[in-house]
């Protein structure tokens, strides 16, 4: 009788562990995506509201449109821009948040603190999930030199063009986000952009990098940049 009880309990435990693993896989593959899509849409909505308010304020006070249009300092964990990469899909757009904390990257792409501001001299570096949490950079290896990476901070459209990548490196290779990354082929200071994600798709042994330079900037009043028009 005790043997029977032991066998039964052990098999029940095995079934329970199996069910737990299946549930966890469902959570990682499916539920994080559902949650992240919702969180990213929230972030973008928040930005749109903020920007429309700023535009209203500018039109209400025509005294200083130049100073009104200046975006403020980046707040950690808060969105400040939206990124579009036509190569990853015509409807692909993700919010960019300040800092690369685990919780920040659940809500969008993360801007490395300490790297340049959007469109400024230096290297504007951004990290994103390859898999889980909405898979923002799932198709990262499909990026090619010449592809457009378009960002807006509500007052200006910035169009970056990819020059090099995807370049595979190791996680400790911090100089890829230097103001002038040595391996990118850039020889002098400029307005650059670096995107990083993990490689292989489900691993963390390496990183994939692309580098781009600022190709064009235009005010939002001038309409969408050519790269986003079909």
């Amino acid at each position: 009788m005790p043997v029977r009880v032991i066998v039964r309990t052990v098999s029940e435990l095995c079934i329970t562990v199996g069910a737990l693993i299946v549930l966890f896989v469902v959570y990682v593959l499916f539920w994080t995506g559902v949650r992240a899509d919702r969180a990213m849409n929230d972030q973008i909505d928040q930005l749109q509201r903020q920007w429309s308010k700023a535009t209203a304020a500018t039109t209400a006070a025509p005294g200083g449109p130049a100073s009104q249009g200046r975006p403020g300092p980046y707040v950690p964990g808060r969105p400040f821009a939206v990124m579009y990469i036509p190569r990853l899909g015509f409807t692909w757009n993700k919010p960019v948040l300040e800092d690369t904390a685990v919780d920040t990257l659940k809500k969008g792409l993360g801007h490395y603190p300490g790297t340049a501001r959007l469109g400024q001299e230096g290297n504007f570096a951004v990290a994103g999930h390859r898999r889980t949490y909405g898979d923002p950079f799932k198709d990262f290896p499909r990026l090619r030199p010449g592809d457009a990476v378009v960002l807006t901070d509500g007052s200006t459209w910035f169009t970056y063009r990819i020059d090099k990548g995807p370049y595979k490196t190791v996680p400790t290779d911090v100089e890829v986000i230097d103001p002038v990354p040595r391996k990118s082929g850039y020889g002098r200071p400029g307005r650059y952009l670096t995107l990083t994600t993990c490689d292989p798709e489900w691993g963390h042994s390496h990183r994939l990098i692309v580098w781009a330079h600022l190709d064009a900037a235009q005010p939002v009043d001038a309409g969408k940049p050519a790269a986003l028009r079909r």
């Binding site: 435990l13 549930l23 959570y27 994080t32 490395y112 990290a127 990083t196």
Partner: protein
């Protein structure tokens, strides 16, 4: 284990089945809401930056 729980539940078979279902849903909710969000960052999918190693 499950037999023990089943015997502890009140009512006839239908009521027991309903209570079991509610219990299962409650467990799944707790897992998705609290346990998995805690366990997920221990996996490698979060390492997408080049400096926090």
């Amino acid at each position: 284990m499950y037999g023990w729980i089943w015997r502890r539940l009140p009512g006839n078979a239908w009521i027991k089945a309903m209570i079991s279902l509610v219990l299962v849903l409650a467990v799944v909710y707790v897992l998705f809401q609290y346990v998995f969000p805690w366990a997920e960052p221990l996996l490698p999918f979060n390492d997408v930056t080049v400096d926090n190693q």
